[in-house]
Amino acid sequence: MSTAWMNKMATSPGQLREKVALFWHGHFACRTRRPDDSLALLNTIREKALGKFPDLLLAVSQEPAMLQFLNNQQNRKEHPNENFAREVMELFTLGRGNYTENDVKEAARAFTGWSYDAQSRFTFRERQHDAGPKTLLGQTGNFGGEDALRIIMQQPAAATFIVTKLYRFFVNDVPNPAHIEPLTVAFRKSHYDIGDLLERMFSADWFYEPAAMATIIKSPVVLVAGLRRTLNLKVDNDKQLLGYQKALGQTLFMPPNVAGWPCGRAWIDSSSLLLRLQLPSILFKNAEFAVRLKDDENDITPQTTGRERTVKNTETTHLPLAPIQQLLGGAPTENQPQLLADFLLQAPLRPENLALVQQAAAKATTPEERLRNTLLSLLSLPEYQLA
């Protein structure tokens, strides 16, 4: 399932949909023991990733994977379980401080009876539903789950929360209120149209200013998918790539907890940085780099040996040079490092690094090797870790 999605991210013409789906995959973080449920959740997310947020929220909230993960199966009239209601407000829509403990209790009552059947289909169990009046975020009525989501989405905090999180994913880890406020207003006016929001974000002048470049540390998935996509890499054994991705701390469908993956600098420590910087050498030069993964103690494979958990490179990727040569046109060799840097890096190539890249290129004996060395050294710069 992971390899299939990674392939899509690396090759699909609908690149934006996959990237936004990756964002929602972290936003609506969920782990299940049932791969079919996880896949159903992902497909719902991919389908609605660029639509109206309330539709996405409702669909995700009614996915068996999410109901199971957040214990709404146990949320019954006599014994309400608040987990689902709380996470919907805290992590999916409003953020802390924008609701009260009483709102959590009342919303939990509204969600009673939301369940799924043995075939993993959403079911409303009327007998478990608390049909009495509730007061949620200042409104009173005999609310059900759909009403609760509608009322939550009427809060101004919802737009700010979602826009800020998307901004931190796509633009800059440090949110700028001057950029966010107009987007929030437009997002509400459009009835939370995600596609429209992203278009505004990507067409804003500030999106292309140098200050917005190279401000986000790529997640392992973005890094690996980006390498594959940009260079049109051919991969024979993508399981091995998944192993390196896991060593870097991100396995799709396995977020660390309900809050999703912590991002930015949290991806970086000494060992993960060394692996990141050597990943191009591993992929293009078959450089030796064995990593023993931690035992993740799942119940599907309770005991694995250290050997089984070791990832090694085994010459399974191929780098086609023709498209890059085409991209360069007939540019003279001495200009190639700078041209490729403009194409591959968001941060400017500094003179010391240009010199390093040129030195690596000069060691080559053929034009192909020269191009390969140039690419390899550019992609091994810390600058390539940034988007």
């Binding site: 996470e87 309900v258 000494s270 060992s271 060394l274 309770p302 010391e352 390093l356």
Partner: protein, 408 residues
Amino acid sequence: MQRRQFLQSSALASTLLLVPKFLHALDRSENQLAARLRDAPGGTAKRLIVVQLGGGNDGLNTLVPFRNDLYYKARPTLALREADGLLPVSDELALHQSMKGLKGLFDQGQLAICNAVGYPNPDRSHFRSMDIWQSGSGSEQLLSTGWLGRYLDSNCAGGAPAYQALEIDDTLSLALKGAQRNGLALKNPGKFHQLTQSRYLSRLSQEKAAAPAGSELDYLYKTLAETASSADYLYEKSKIHNSTATYPNTDFGRNLKTTAELIGSGVESRVYYLALSGFDTHVGQHGRQAQLLGELSDGLAALAADLQKSSEWNNTLVMVFSEFGRRVSQNASNGTDHGTANNVFLLSGALRRPGLLNQPASLADLDQGDLRYQLDFRSLYASILTDWLGADDKLVLGPGIEKLAGLV
């Protein structure tokens, strides 16, 4: 799963922001490095070794209540008996028969056992419960940093290098990730050093002022520089002492040996983190657990003897934990399923209170078939942080955690 709190902007996280100063990489010139090595104060500071038993070790068959009928009733075929060779440590409790090494340390007053350690509203999922133990959170909190990482944040601001906390593995656990500082993961100093030795990386790591201060790029270059200088330091330093002691010929045994060599070489790390996994014994528990506990016991006994020889055992505290214990009743496959409270072992040449530190959990008063915890694991952390590592536990764990007086 219970309720969680997203602690991104809590009081705890904000106190950590008081240490914003990013470490400068050590000067890598050979002379300076040599001087550093010469001047390093060898092994005077106390250090902590954490051993994580992954998968949920069955505490009831590790420290066995061998006079308790309820134990035998709950485990008709899985219970261990005196005739199996149990190693009694009191009238009622005995260590598993494969733990002769630890029994020896117990008899010498170098092992302390805390019973019924856990936390309120226990979570029976491996990944979540391990997350709770590694982050030092409550079961209703979500922290994205580890307790030892926050120890680095709070205690090593300004001057201390990344190798203050080492994980003997290829990748770094959450436990050693802080908001500002991280520990460092290495399988052994040679392999780690070699990774930083490509000409290209080594040139990159020496670039000065590569990016605007405070930017993400600056952070990457500084981390790289610090990684390279730490690798140099650890590699040079670790040549000083090669252990000749015999450890189990397993990955865990080799990691213990690496740890002893680093300590014996006078490396200034305060924290070492090691894991032994495979304790998830749902099926056929007997053989598997016996093998793992034997490996643990033999390994730790070898470590204790080795560190005694290099006069470092009195400065070293080992803490052994698992993310949860297992259910009191055995299952239908001669195994046990995920449970709750468990025992924690403390080992050192200088324990203030050796032996059994508290009563084992009651087998008569269970919580839906599981042991009730008596001692919050964060109390152990707090005592170790304060009394052993000399840190401020409140900066690491937040307020309101009770310490255990005179534990270490």
